[in-house]
Amino acid sequence: MSSVATDGGSPTTASPPPRTRMDLTHKVRPGEAVIKGLLRLAAAASVLTTVGIVVSLIRPAVDFFRAVPVTEFLTGTSWSPNLAPQSFGVLPLVGGTLVTTVIGLLIAVPLGLGTAMYLSEYARPATRRRLKPILELLAGVPSVVYGFFALSFITPTVLKSWFGLEVGFTNALAAGVVLGIMIIPTVASLSEDAMSAVPHALRQGSFAMGANRMQTTLRVVFPAAISGIAAAVVLGLSRAVGETMIVALAAGSQPNLSIDPREGMQTMTGFMATTAGGENPVGSVSYNTLFAVGLLLFCITLVVNLLSIALVRRLREEY
């Protein structure tokens, strides 16, 4: 399912037909031109979506930045848009996002890679066919359900009882752990695609030199698939940064510029979830904060996504 979402590591690219092939399609009919136009319109709608996102975020954000200077927004260390004295420094929210995302990646990268290595290098095809749908199910669990799981199981049972940690009811650690669990399938699925795309001759060469399966996996397949694996990790990062319901429920609603994951902290998306449900009048500065934070979030994920896409491109060119 996650592999589907990006078209990323899939090695099956349709190659353009060879030059010598006769072009059978050259037949101009007026009715067909209309149909083709309609199809093109549907395809162009995806561009309109991007333009729409940018415009709908920028217009209220511009209003916001008329009231609050950009530098104050980006470098301020206090975030209190609804309570007097108001202050609009976004760093505490960015810090919250950073802490939960890093915890998520610490969970998802090793476990996702381990899963991918097993499925690609060790599992028999029948085992893989049976395990992949279950993994996809893990990706299909709605995020609000993961949020509930963090509050009802991870914090009270795992963190407090099993590990004996002094954590609050909402804390960044539980939110980060569950974020990590949520993105394991993303990392695993795309990394597996990348490793499966490594030509078989490389493995056979390694085995012929006397290397065992672990050495082949770690020193031959892994380096050969590294750009695809990096793309998978980067995409997982993008998912974690943009995830809303888990952090809205489990990370807390107190902006907090701290790196102690046992404390509650609000993330960018968590703030958006709380504010949208609140009572701010449309057009007010505190309502427009929603779009300013949304714009920042969109810019961050855009950079991360483009990085991921570029990494996948590199992978495709290699073989």
């Binding site: 399912m1 589907v4 979402a5 990006t6 078209d7 099956t12 353009p16 037909p17 059978l24 399609t25 037949k27 067909e32 083709k36 549907a42 395809a43 709608a45 995806s46 991007t50 729409g52 996102i53 709908s56 975020l57 476990l111 381990g114 899963t115 097993y118 060790y122 749908p133 996809e136 199910l137 893990l138 299909g140 669990v141 709605p142 995020s143 609000v144 359900v145 993961y146 509930f148 799981f149 009802s152 199981f153 394991i184 695993a188 078989h200 085995f207 006397g210 290397a211 065992n212 998912r239 943009g242 809303t244 429920l249 998306t269 949208a276 779009f291 979030l297 994920t301 855009l302 991921s308």
Partner: protein, 300 residues
Amino acid sequence: MASIGTLARSGVRTGGRSHESNPASLVFLCLLWFSLAFGLLVLLALVVDTFVEGVGRLDGDLFTRYNSTVREETTGARAAILGTAWLMATTAVLAIPMGIAAALYFEEFADKRRWYNRLLEVNLQNLAAVPSVIYGLLAVAIMALLGFSNEGIVLGGAIALALLILPVIIITTREAVRAVPREIRDGSLALGATQWQTTWKQTLPSAVPGIATGTIIALSRAIGEAAPLLMLGVPLGILQDPNGVLSTFTALPLQIFQWTSQSQDAYKVAAAAAIIVLLAMVLLLNGLAIIIRNKFQRRW
């Protein structure tokens, strides 16, 4: 390709077995097993934890009563379940034709070497990874543009979710269409069919199982989304059934979010029961997709 790889791999397996038994590689294998088992165990823990907590409230009241702020023991998700049904139907109507049309253009008609078509492709891959909460803000703007003063209606939610799953539908449809062999198209064209006749009567029918699988999985993702609906300001306390695309509504994931945020234990139990209903819906859709994939997908 997979079968060739498997053959080669199993050939190597017998040859290299003696080297597999040194301690380091056994530890490594155990670590891999652990990472695989971790995901499965978490899934199990999630299902068991929710089931134990919520199974007691999986009663008639949950399905027939509206959400109540006073009688928390018998609060229900009737409006939310019906709202989710309306929302999904509207989303499917908006997203599926559009997604398939766009995918057909990309795969059958677009010249991939043109710079703007490459740009469309990068754009699509980025859209697939834009946070869902952003689509909520986009839908707010679209609803304001269309002149609706109340954004928290079925149409607004459906626009947000349709735009959210459109890239997924386009990408899976393209993969399904791409898997149809060239020879089928060439045969049709050689018999005098035009390009559109070929696409409509040969390529598309052959790709239907793949398209159906991808579309159902996309819908199963949309059914659990709460963040975009939250941005639309969908009201949480709805005490009537939705009766059209322009009526206010609430949805199951939002109801779960609201109940989870309450401090009373009775609401937590109700949330767990509602999660069981939501998970059952997701599971049903995924199961349907897997059945279609295994039964009807043609391999060439």
